[in-house]
């Protein structure tokens, strides 16, 4: 055998199209993979398959109509997006929200976080071959969606809350459902944990799968559970508290190696923390005067319908809000909330018109998904699928 290299057969690589519609990717993503057998040599992601031009549409819509656009970003936790948008506008117009409403929003947002993490974690289970946990825990997501239904009438694209508060008070049935949920969810989550957390097969599949170091994660502007799994304790709820999060007592769970198992565990732990937050919020609401569910801002908050028919003032306000005749201050605002996937930011420029002059969404998915090619390099195909599902890449938020 000569060692001048001529007789070494050049390796042949296969090109594999993973997606755009592949059952294992839970959404419309395309990855063109260069494969050496089962090993990924190179990957290239193509995104934009469900791009709907939200930033452009938002430049043509009055502020209250943009809420429905935010629903469709991370549709696994749309109430967080809704509340984030309301808070952005409230920051622009300078509205002080009553404490009771802030706590109610906290309850809604933490429920949304639980439903988001439930989907992500149970799907990690499915991708490792464990269907049972997914089917069990999904009953709990259904229970959360029943609460949404009672709050706003919708389940997935919620359009919940209004600028200045919430559209209606929590009904007795909401409190009832919430109590039942808080009673039934912890045992169900415990059961789910028992199925996966110390499961040998699950651990073998996920530990060391798709890791990312804290330095790389920060350089890629990761946020949310994926960043925390790499060991960086950045959580918008603690760093820049909104909606009175500073009054709540909760932990930020952290991982160390940033692999799939750590991402799973961080989300798992966050659900326990969310339950804690909801319980505290319920206690706090009991101390607040009952019946308040919005701020007193008639310029922005629609009056009750029966008053519109019988009261001149209310009719005028109703007309002004719906026709977009309300004075909106000029300004440049950035507001961020901790969404299911990390820092969900709204960068809003208002020139005093009835619609935003420019609205930019900082979408955590879009930003961290670009690291996927780096994380998948050198991994097996099945591990790449697992990495993707544990990063919780939501197509709606990716493409906006």
């Amino acid at each position: 055998m000569s060692n001048n290299g001529t007789d070494i057969i050049e390796k042949e690589y296969n090109t594999l199209n993973l997606g755009p519609t592949h059952p294992a990717t839970h959404g419309i993503f395309q990855n063109v993979l260069k494969m050496d057998g089962e090993i990924i040599i190179e990957a290239e992601s193509t995104v934009g398959y469900i791009h709907r031009a939200f930033e452009k549409i938002a430049e043509r819509r009055p502020y209250y109509q943009i809420t429905t656009l935010t629903d469709r970003m991370n549709y696994c936790s749309s109430p967080i997006n809704n509340m984030g948008w309301h808070m952005t506008v409230e920051k622009l117009i300078g509205v002080e929200i009553p404490k009771r409403v802030q706590y109610m929003r906290v309850i809604i947002m933490e429920l949304a976080r639980i439903s988001d993490h439930v989907i992500c974690n149970s799907v990690i289970g499915v991708d490792t071959g464990a269907m049972t946990g997914f089917l069990y825990i999904f009953q709990m997501r259904e229970r959360i969606y029943e609460i949404y239904e009672e709050l706003c009438g919708a389940r997935l694209t919620t359009n919940m809350g209004r600028i200045g508060g919430l559209e209606r008070d929590f009904s007795p049935k909401v409190w009832d459902l919430l109590d039942k949920f808080l009673k039934d969810f912890p045992p169900a989550l415990k059961e789910f944990e028992n199925l996966l957390m110390r499961n040998r097969i699950f651990m073998d599949r996920t530990i060391g799968c798709g890791p990312i170091t804290a330095e790389r994660a920060l350089n890629y502007s990761f946020s949310g559970p994926n960043l925390r799994a790499a060991g960086v304790d950045y959580d918008v709820r603690v760093m820049n508290p909104y909606s009175s999060y500073e009054e709540f007592d909760f932990m930020i769970p952290l991982g160390t190696s940033g692999d799939t198992y750590d991402r799973f565990m961080v989300r798992q732990q966050e659900m326990w923390e969310s339950v804690k937050i909801i319980k505290q919020a319920i206690e706090k609401i009991k101390k607040e005067p009952a019946g308040i569910f919005h701020a007193d801002v008639p310029d922005f908050y629609l009056p009750p319908k029966e008053e519109v028919y019988n009261n001149m003032e209310a009719l005028i306000y109703h007309f002004k809000i719906v026709m977009g005749e309300t004075e909106i201050p000029k300004g440049e605002i950035y507001h961020a909330v901790e969404g299911g996937n990390g820092e969900l930011g709204f960068y809003l420029i208002s020139d005093g018109g009835r619609t935003p002059y420019r609205l930019h969404f900082r979408r955590p998915c879009f930003i961290y998904y670009q690291a996927f090619t780096e994380m998948a390099k050198g991994a097996m195909l099945s591990d790449a699928i697992l990495t993707m599902s544990s990063m919780n890449v939501i197509a709606g938020e990716l493409d906006a």
Binding site: A53, R60, L218, S221, G331, E332, T355, Q370
Partner: protein, 169 residues
């Protein structure tokens, strides 16, 4: 450190480091905002990244803005930086003309800027110089315009019933 003292500290540092390339500093809704010349943006962000005291090592987001009526400065790009350990947030902005859309890329400092810059190229046509893979990201490849520019109205221009005076901005 409150935002006012942060503003002065960064203002002093940028002035001594970049001289006339640093244009202005102000608090915009409690957010320290700095305007610099376009060609030095990558150096400014590198400086803010490397400086031991400031250490803005997290890129929150970047976004382009189109001001068609702003003669000579039709475009802007804003960068939001975050110092995580001290929890300081700032915004750096550049303004430039529609005739000169070449902006130095910051992908060598932040890997995460890759797609963010591609997005702004896709929607506004801003040419990021030094970007490793500057091509469209969300729109289809054969699109021949940049849709977020203000001259492309969202509504069909032939429609008469949606008068801008009544229903538009």
């Amino acid at each position: 450190m409150d935002n006012n003292s942060l503003l002065t500290i960064i203002q002093d540092k940028l002035t001594s480091q970049f001289g006339s390339d640093f244009l202005s500093a102000e608090l915009v809704a409690e957010y320290p905002t700095f305007i610099v010349k376009k060609d030095s943006i990558a150096n400014v962000i590198k400086f803010l990244y490397d400086d031991k005291e400031l250490a803005f090592q997290y890129l929150t987001t970047l976004a382009a803005i189109h001001y068609p009526d702003n003669q000579g400065q039709e475009f802007a790009v804003m960068y939001q930086l975050h110092n995580l350990p001290k929890n300081l947030r700032i915004r750096v902005k550049i303004f430039f003309s529609v005739n000169d859309l070449a902006v130095p890329s910051i992908t060598s400092i932040f890997s995460g800027a890759n797609w963010m810059e591609r997005q702004e190229y896709d929607f506004f046509g801003i040419q990021f110089i030094g970007h490793p893979n500057l091509k469209r990201i969300l729109n289809m490849d054969d699109m021949d315009y940049h849709p977020m520019r203000k001259e492309y109205a969202l509504e069909d221009g032939t429609r008469k019933d949606k008068d801008d005076k009544m229903f538009g901005r």
